[in-house]
């Protein structure tokens, strides 16, 4: 499936160009959270978007506002050139409209606010804003949602259920989720350091990322690249921690490679989930080492969560877009925060500054609560 274009709203840039230049420059989008109180939390930093673009102002739901901001960016790069009923929306999220739920449970507002509290409301708000009247799907596979959303979007096209699909992910930074990760003591006290020996945890971020998917034969003009394959698998081991052997992640990667008919020897780059937690990065490294085999030390790997924070439902989509931009421009962004190697994390992490490599075929990995694992295999535009 062709990935025609992408659009984003992130803490390091409110459009694709700013996002990309920020990643290449090693920008740090993490800051003191200002939108809600954090004084009672151990950690009050995150990847907060300080000011929404004008197109998103006035939209009550922040989740919907982020999606609209990303869609406006996407709309500036590609036209939705299909009948409205043939345009589908597939949005991934870990949190849906949870902030609206909080307001609604507090008795704020009437029927409209109660409806907005449903996790599928932001996707429907996006579809209404786009004028898309085809299928609207909401994926909530925790922090793997943004990958599975792209996969289901591609499946809708293969099925002939739509001619264009706007697919991606989003999540907002809100007190609900900050309080949760703070209580679990999963948050880093200083900075996010994926795969670094001194890593102590993640920091959360908010963002939206969307791509326009079309069948190859229908995609006109320039494009970002292709989604070759996608796969998912359940860990069936723990609700909040990854499987100790990473069996689910390995199964998802192998399924994505098989679906794309891509040999592991053809992979040029891996965009890792790389949250910066002790457990995730060690397990993910071990899985990638098994999958990549003899090439494990030769394939560049990065994580962009040091720059953005963990943007949850948006993360995998942003990482997929990053892969395609790397293929377009011949630069792989650095793993912000990675400085000191960890013997347990011994892959070729892109560190310090961006690396002059033009990957062609790429793997992106994602994990999430509930034992969710997903992988995407992508190819840059020729």
């Amino acid at each position: 499936m062709a990935i025609v274009a992408g659009g984003v709203a992130t803490p390091i840039g409110l459009d694709l160009d700013a996002f990309w230049s920020g990643l290449l420059a090693g920008a740090d989008g993490l800051s003191t959270i200002e939108r809600f109180p954090t004084a009672d939390l151990r950690v009050g930093r995150g990847g907060e978007i300080k000011k929404l673009p004008p197109v998103a102002l006035g939209i009550r739901s922040r989740a919907a506002a982020l999606l609209v901001a990303a869609a406006a960016d996407l709309g500036g790069r590609a036209r939705l050139d299909a009948a409205p009923e043939r345009i589908a929306v597939v949005a991934g999220t870990a949190l849906g409209g949870v902030e609206e739920l909080e307001h609604a449970l507090a008795g704020d507002g009437g029927a409209r606010r109660a409806l907005d509290a449903l996790y599928d409301s932001p996707a429907h708000a996006l579809a209404a804003w786009l004028g898309a009247r085809g299928p609207v799907l909401t994926v909530s596979s925790a922090c793997a949602s943004g990958a599975i959303a792209l996969g289901l979007g591609a499946d809708l096209l293969r099925e002939g259920a739509a001619d264009l699909v706007v697919a991606g992910g989003y999540d907002i930074l809100c007190r609900f989720v900050m309080r949760g990760f703070d209580a679990l003591r999963s948050l880093a006290r200083d900075r996010v350091r994926p795969f670094d020996r001194r890593r102590t945890g993640l920091l959360l971020g908010e963002a939206a990322g969307l791509v326009l998917l079309a069948r190859e034969r229908d995609a006109r003009g320039p494009r970002l690249g292709r989604l070759l394959g996608h796969g998912s698998a359940s860990d069936a081991s723990h609700i909040a921690a990854p499987d100790a052997q990473g069996r689910g992640l390995e199964a998802a990667i192998r399924a994505a490679l098989a679906a794309g008919d891509v040999d592991v020897a053809d992979l040029d780059f891996v965009s890792a989930h790389g949250t910066g937690t002790v457990l995730n990065d060690r397990i993910e490294t071990a899985v990638l080492r098994r999958v990549l085999g003899a090439r494990a030390g030769a394939v560049p790997v990065n994580s962009i969560k040091g720059a953005l924070g963990h943007t949850m439902g948006a993360a995998a989509t942003l990482e997929a877009i990053m892969c395609l931009l790397a293929a377009r421009d011949g630069w792989i962004p650095p793993t912000v925060g990675y400085e000191e190697p960890d013997p347990a994390c011994d892959l070729d992490y892109v560190a310090g500054v961006c690396r002059a490599v033009r990957p062609r075929r790429m793997l992106s990995t994602s994990l999430g609560f509930g034992g969710c694992n997903a992988a995407l295999v992508l190819e840059g535009a020729a």
Binding site: L105, L118, S140, S232, G370
Partner: protein, 268 residues
């Protein structure tokens, strides 16, 4: 044999009881003014379930009901050959409300994620195959059946569970403010369909008209949201092996899917 998929079993629990035989002829009349017909927290033993929410346990018992319908034990579905596709419109509301109220302990937080319900089911039954979680009402369940059929027919797994759970009691006052709860009653429910390999591809239409069966399901079961298409499949399975056209309508979109059904004799 052509690569395809078929429904091999359906487990169903609603506030009315287990299966379709217990459904009243007219849910609104049977509700007698009650807005929510509740499902009790299943009494499952084991230390592993001490933190699990009511919704998680309902997912587990829905799978057990499906296994009884299929006449197989849990070992038959264990492993990487079984996919899970989970759907709900509202079952995360209770856990989120509890977290927001500030009463829950630290380890409750992961349970606020919709993915933890199927996660608990996957752990309980050892399901390690493809894994998709959709949020939405009946239309999303039709989408889930389509996705499960694709996974089975495409050889990415040997079988797939389509699991749906809906609970309303803890957020009753909230949900009653929304028009999608009308006409009531809202009936708490949990359903699980087992899809295995068959010789016909499921026929999915992302935009279609509601089927008569959809109206029958709502009239007899009440508002079961994501569980409604699984109630329809349970009816179809009782009907004895003919292909079933199942629809789901939500937020103005109706999707349909035609699925082959492995029949069994109607219960006396």
């Amino acid at each position: 044999m052509t690569a395809g998929a078929r429904v091999e079993a359906v487990g169903l629990l609603t506030g009315w009881g287990e299966g379709t035989a217990v459904l009243p002829p007219d849910a609104r009349a049977a509700a007698a003014g009650r807005a929510v017909i509740p499902l009790e927290r299943p009494a499952l033993d084991g230390d592993r379930f001490r933190r699990a929410t009511r919704e998680c346990l309902l997912g587990v018992v829905a799978v057990e009901a499906m296994l009884r319908d299929a006449g197989i034990d849990r070992e038959a579905i264990r492993g990487a050959g079984t996919a899970v596709v989970f759907v709900t419109a509202a079952a995360y509301g209770a856990s989120n409300a509890e977290w927001l109220a500030g009463q829950a302990g630290t380890l409750h937080f992961p349970y606020t994620a919709p993915s933890v319900l199927p996660g608990e089911v996957a752990i309980e039954f050892g399901l390690r195959g493809p894994y998709v979680i959709l949020i939405g009402g009946p239309t999303a369940t039709v989408d889930a059946l389509w996705q499960a059929g694709r996974l089975v027919a495409g050889g990415q797994c040997e079988r797939a569970l389509v699991l749906a759970v809906e609970t309303f009691g803890e957020c009753e006052a909230l949900w009653r403010r929304a028009r999608w709860t009308l006409p009531g009653p809202m009936v708490e429910s949990a359903g699980c369909a087992l899809l295995g390999r068959g010789d016909t591809l499921p026929a999915y239409r992302a935009a279609a008209a509601p089927t008569p069966l959809e109206r029958v399901v709502e009239a007899r079961a009440g508002r079961t949201l994501a569980c409604a298409p699984l109630v329809a499949l349970a009816f179809a399975r009782e009907g004895g092996g003919r292909p079933a056209l199942v629809s789901g309508t939500w937020r103005g979109r109706t999707a349909t899917i035609e699925l082959a059904i492995a029949g069994r004799a109607a219960r006396v």
